[in-house]
Assembly symmetry: C2
Homo-oligomer: 635 residues x 2
């Protein structure tokens, strides 16, 4: 008998002891980090709301209760009863019964009303029909990504359960090592921006954190180093957020033989899928052969185990993971690892924004314990201070008003995920409060889809924004000004010929995508203003235009065909998803507890050196500016 | 066709082009780092002494020429002719013909006379009989180790050739990596003394340097770290010297699947075999089960590829190794690695003695290039200054004279390898020059055998000592005073009852071995003096006696049986095989070129910190005091 089976037998005995006599336990298994209790008496379980909570506290495990099949009301009858229990205002769009696990997945526009106060409605459902309800939100804006992911996961349910069971046994295996230490290996993003990737290891466990590409380069993380190999021996992959410089090469891991879990937030899982498929698409369009195909993206999605901010999750015999809001993009996380039984704690900042933005609360920097922080340094340079967001907004409003006054359009190249939604919130408020006239805001490229994903997960947005969406039915993303450009170039031509309007279009650095068409339509229009709201990297067309180029070549339309740009060009910074130098320092300064050591990564050579030296001098901590391919040992 | 075969074909074509038309080339192969040319015309080859040297220079390879079998004179006839060519004074003790390689191994008391001026006698032999001569020294003192190693290697000749061919192809494989970097991983001996072990790696190659045990502890090097695994993927093991804290666990590598070469000097190979077998012996006597058995020691010896000081040797497609005298013990080396084509250079000091001693020249610190030095720090502490050797010798002589004057014996616990031979040289000279009276010097334990190995390899001893042995027939180790205690306790009793004498006996820290018998025989003798000449570690009986204990328990002779020590106890330091703090600093200060970075290892926490900080402040270099389990990246 394996030690995991022995452990489960003992857990079952304890659970039987703890439960009232009239509640039976048929089986106890692991699924991923969760302990699943099978019972013939789901209704009795549901009657006592504290039972599960008390068991979870006592066993220090996350617990799910599942009915055995013959304790279930038949689906047809159950459907009716479930719909009777749920208030009509919850607006249920789908009910899906899974006899294998006794779960009913309820998709509703208002999940909160399906859950009820402290879960009371959920318990009522179980008491009525025996099934265990699982609630998901109907995206307020239809999202093909979300619906594809959901239907794919539904189709792969059985394999997914096998994966979860395997992972669960892996997590709860017996510890073998008689030694204790913690190491971090740098596989990328050291003294550079891009290809984020680290290995966190103990004698027992190896975890990969992030696996991104490097924009403007073919350099991949050093996945071939021994510390990461063989890849199929990794216990877990943790993804801090969906941006490609952190996620692009995650599917590659599956091609190379990895077959384990990816721990991340639910929105990051969906955004990752969206961005990775776009990554393949862009590569194909540019005639490059991408390192993996879409089947590997599906593998990644299938192996994702979503965890919520703040939930302490066992991911290995000696490692507990907790994700915290990082304030950078939807679902972005600071990843905190608790190693051993109080032995050591490491936090990886991922990309962070320290101050609140319109979209997100500022990054969390409060932990039970943390000895070492691995810290992003994108704007860590001594002069990397950004304009205050309020001033930036004022300037943007001014530019829009001037342009609208002369009957022109405002063309904003923007990244689909994060910056676009932030600007949308600024525009919606400015129109609502009358600071700019009401006019259409056209969203082109992936922006609409990315926005739809944002509205699916309002829990991950800033408190007051979430509350507006939850309670007041005032979802700003649903404002009537926002129009999805979904009819191609004809629609663009019509917009270009029409009244004043604002256009948000990808790509954010004018390196391809629909923004290229907008240049054709509006480039020669002297009434139009192009406004840069995000960082333009060296070598991009965006950077050139920003620097004053006004003659740009048009490919594929005859040899000497150039486009003369006659629109105004403005730059409004201050909308970055990254903390600036002050924000980075503040994150560390107010961090609780203050870490002993900081590794400054994810920044140009001078940025990491500047930040490392400043943190050392100002806060008297040991700081490092690692190179790629190094391994640090802690304790 | 493999790339190695292609490369060999091209080499053969070039060689044919370069050679005079009347010299045929039948085949060209690799054996370990050497390029072997098979020819039907060995005699013609031998006629022109420059041919091989010119080819070697042009091809930048070490070259061996071998006759094909039908070009050979039959062994019976050849034996006579060979003995005719060699001057009688060379004193040939064995001739051994190997038809498979066309080699004749000549064992002679005076190898220099077999070689002749610039190899003239060797060439004459080949011209006469076609065979390629290989010369080894007849040990002036019979050494069972040397004779066992030689007969074992003779018996394993065929397998050894297979190994060498495999290693040769491995070394000359095509380089696959398109990246360049250098990493050093610390597997042991960081902030501690013992279990020396490092991995030097490039994208192409991984090399293990040393693999020792930790005296007084069961801690082995961290061989399980990914940087070292799988062990069978290592390209090479380099052994700096034979002491067990550098060599004890080398045989374990073969048990764990390693099957590649061990590069080291010839005396280190033999001493390593001697010490490893003793290590197994001691473990068995103490009732511990050692981690490997003697078959693995034989594997290690079989896989050893001896290289000489100063010979630049290809050990991987991108790595050249050169060993240099380290001055510490017989065959001890500073290992210099040249990586890539001028890309980077790393030197590992191993254990060093900076100043000349009687036995050895001081450590070499002159290199074509070196950017990083990995440096021992045993005596790196701020107060680790040793007594000058001349003063130490004077004090030893004084103690001996006083003891002899009162008719007593001088009992010196000593390490078999290194310290004993140094003391022997001091005693021999003191007697020869009349500073102490002539009296017997009894050598007990492994000292005699270790001395025999020293006399087998006079090339590795200090210049003037080597010259005395070579030219003047004044081998001090053959002085008649030296007596091998080889008849056990009766002989000891006789010595103890006899006239004044000096006794050198293992173990060096009085932790077992024949020194225990000597305590019985002489402990109660008030005329005797026990003299400590080496470091006595905490917890050893030697340290206790040194500190004044005069009642020691005698095991197995009744419960309350104790031995009262009534002899005098003296300590004479200054005979260490390690550089002291001044020597370590001098090694770095006079190093040519001065390295950019120094990793201070192989010392207690405070010693490495002190040395690291001193080198940083005094010589303005980047210094580190690594922990075990770290990986540094250079370039």
């Amino acid at each position: 008998m394996s030690t995991v089976d022995k452990q489960l037998d003992e857990l079952q005995a304890t659970i039987v002891d703890e439960l009232p006599n009239d509640i039976s336990v048929s089986d106890v298994t692991y699924e991923g980090p969760e302990l699943v209790i099978y019972t013939r008496d789901p209704k009795k379980f549901a009657r006592n709301g504290d039972l599960i909570r008390n068991l979870a506290g006592q066993l220090r495990k996350r617990i799910t209760v599942r009915p055995v099949p013959d304790a279930l009301t038949d689906p047809a009858t159950a459907r009716e009863k479930v719909l009777n229990v749920i208030p009509e205002k919850a607006d249920v769009s789908d009910l899906d019964f899974h006899a294998d696990t006794g779960e009913v997945v309820i998709e509703a526009a208002k999940p909160g009303m399906v859950i009820g106060r402290h879960g009371s409605t959920l318990r009522e459902i179980t008491q009525e029909v025996g099934w265990t309800p699982e609630v998901v939100r109907t995206p307020p804006i239809e999202s093909s990504t979300v619906s594809n992911v959901r239907s794919f996961l539904k189709q792969e349910r059985e394999e997914r359960r096998d994966i979860l069971e395997r992972v669960g046994r892996q997590i709860h295996r017996e510890e073998m090592a008689d030694d204790e230490w913690v190491r971090i290996s740098t596989l990328g993003c050291c003294r550079e921006v891009g290809r984020a990737s680290f290995i966190l290891s103990t004698p027992e466990t190896r975890i990969l954190i992030d696996c991104g590409d490097k924009p403007g380069s073919d350099d991949a993380p050093y996945l071939q180093v021994p510390e990461a190999n063989p890849l199929n021996s990794l216990d877990a992959v943790v993804l801090t957020h969906a941006h490609l410089d952190h996620s692009a090469l995650i599917p590659l891991l599956f091609k190379y033989g990895y077959d384990g879990p990816i721990y991340t937030t639910e929105p990051t899982r969906d955004l990752m899928g969206l961005l990775q498929l776009d990554y393949l698409d862009v590569a194909a369009k540019e005639g490059r052969s991408p390192p993996y195909d879409s089947a590997m993206v599906r593998e990644a999605v299938k192996h994702a185990i979503p965890i919520e901010y703040g939930d302490v999750t066992d991911i290995a015999p000696d490692v507990k993971l907790t994700l915290h809001n990082a304030g950078h993009i939807l679902g972005s996380s600071v990843a905190h690892f608790h190693i051993g039984d109080g032995f050591y704690n490491v936090a990886f900042s991922g990309d962070i924004h320290y101050d609140d933005t319109r979209l997100f609360n500022g990054a969390v920097n409060d932990f039970p314990r943390v000895e070492t922080l691995v810290m992003e340094s994108t704007y860590g340079g001594r002069n990397d201070y950004q304009t205050d967001q309020a001033d930036s907004e004022e300037k943007l409003i001014e530019v829009i008003n001037e342009t609208a006054d002369r009957g022109g359009k405002v063309l904003i190249p923007a990244f689909a995920v994060g910056r676009s939604q932030e600007i949308m919130l600024v525009l919606e408020e400015a129109m609502r409060s009358g600071k700019i006239p009401e006019m259409p805001v056209h969203l082109d490229g992936m922006i609409w889809e990315a926005t739809a994903i944002h509205t699916t997960y309002p829990e991950y947005l800033r408190d007051d924004l979430r509350d507006r969406i939850f309670h007041d039915d005032e979802n700003p993303f649903l404002a009537p000004q926002f129009n999805h450009i979904d009819e191609g170039d004809d629609e663009r031509e019509e917009v270009a010929a029409g009244d004043p309007a604002i256009i948000l279009s990808t790509s954010g650095m004018v390196t391809g995508g629909p923004i290229m068409s907008w240049l054709d339509h509006l480039g020669a229009d002297t009434d139009t203003t192009m406004v840069f709201v995000g960082y333009q990297a060296q070598g991009t067309l965006g950077r050139r235009i920003q620097n004053g180029w006004d003659e740009i070549p048009r490919n594929g339309r005859g040899r000497s065909n150039t486009l003369n740009l006659e629109f105004d060009v403005e730059t409004v910074d201050g909308f970055s998803g990254h903390a600036d130098r002050q924000g980075l320092e503040n994150f560390v300064k107010t961090m609780n507890p203050r870490p002993e050591k900081v590794l400054c990564v994810h920044g140009d050579e001078s940025s990491v050196q500047d930040l490392s030296s400043a943190l050392y001098h100002n806060y008297n901590m040991r700081t490092f500016a690692p190179k790629n391919l190094e391994t640090f040992r802690f304790k």
